[in-house]
């Protein structure tokens, strides 16, 4: 197996994640925490993130499906999701979470339009789901390449 080629592919995929804004500098922090004592730390954190975010998103989906107009509750869920996104550097997801929360806050200003706000929230949430799905796919591919390439150091950090 051409391990050099696999490593180059992994490095390229990783670079793309940063260049296209899927990940931000917080991901470097996770990489810095990976060492001999925790050789799979980054993948473990990312796995936890997707498990946790899937659960949170299911809660939000359920609330939106029931046309729950408790925007405070939706905001709490979204705050948790945004927090997790921030912790792993999931930049695009974080941006969409912020947009969703702005929708929730709009309701507090104009309560009589809660149905239209709910629709806005639903649309915003669709964007979050898309970003979540794309990020998951890309990171799964990245870690798969890393596993195939063997236990080596992470690709060097690109110049900022």
């Amino acid at each position: 197996m051409d391990y050099v080629h696999l490593r180059r592919q992994a490095a390229s995929l990783r670079k793309g994640l940063f260049d296209q804004g899927y990940l931000d500098e917080q991901f470097y922090q996770l990489e810095d925490l990976q060492d001999d004592a925790s050789p799979n730390f980054v993948e473990e954190v990312v796995t936890l993130f997707f498990r946790d975010s899937t659960r949170l998103m299911a809660n939000i989906d359920q609330a939106l499906d029931k046309c729950v107009k408790d925007f405070n509750k939706l905001d709490v869920y979204m705050q948790q999701l945004k927090g997790s996104c921030t912790s792993i550097g999931a930049s695009r997801m974080k941006t969409e979470c912020t947009a969703f929360r702005e929708c929730c806050r709009d309701e507090n200003i104009e309560g009589s339009h809660s149905l239209s706000i709910l629709n806005l929230c639903m649309r915003s949430f669709q964007k979050i789901k898309r970003e979540h799905s794309v990020l998951r796919q890309k990171l799964e591919s990245y870690f798969q390449l890393l596993r195939q390439a063997g236990p080596v150091e992470c690709a060097t950090r690109p110049n900022k």
């Binding site: 917080q26 922090q29 996770l30 810095d32 925490l33 060492d35 004592a37 925790s38 730390f41 473990e44 954190v45 936890l48 993130f49 498990r51 946790d52 705050q79 948790q80 945004k82 927090g83 997790s84 921030t86 912790s87 792993i88 550097g89």
Partner: protein, 138 residues
């Protein structure tokens, strides 16, 4: 609010390898990250997912040298945990640090006035932990 009284004394004795930090965060991801940050700084770490569990542990664990807690948690916020710790004759000497993903000045001031050692904005960096532990646990 009733005062919480732990049953064990706590202290700051021991070398840096023995210093024990209690991390409190309801987020699975953040618990893993903060644990790693603290272990990288050579501290022993216990991570729990709620203020209630933190108080239970403080009741049984004799040596906790610092508590680092998230602010926004269900049932008991980090602020409420801070208050309970500071109201306890057994626990009030333990430094408490609050973490939050939201930069809300009134929140920060309230925590500092209640006796928090510091207030860190998430995502917490390794440099934050190093600086904090050097200052608080020296």
């Amino acid at each position: 609010m009733a005062s919480y009284t732990g049953s064990k004394s706590t202290g700051r004795e021991g070398s840096s390898q023995e210093l024990h930090v209690l991390a409190v965060d309801d987020s699975l991801v953040d618990r893993k990250v903060i644990t790693s940050l603290l272990r990288k700084s050579k501290y022993r770490v216990t991570a729990v997912d709620s203020g209630k569990r933190a108080l239970e542990l403080l009741d049984t664990e004799p040596n906790v040298n610092m508590i680092i807690t998230d602010y926004s948690m269900p049932e008991m916020t980090g602020y409420e945990l801070l208050k309970k710790v500071k109201e306890s004759s057994e626990l009030c000497q333990i430094p408490v640090v609050i973490m939050s993903s939201e930069n809300v000045p009134t929140r920060i001031n309230r925590c500092l006035e209640e006796g928090a050692e510091d207030f860190l904005l998430k995502p917490v960096q390794l440099s934050d932990v190093s600086r904090l532990c050097n200052r608080v646990l020296r």
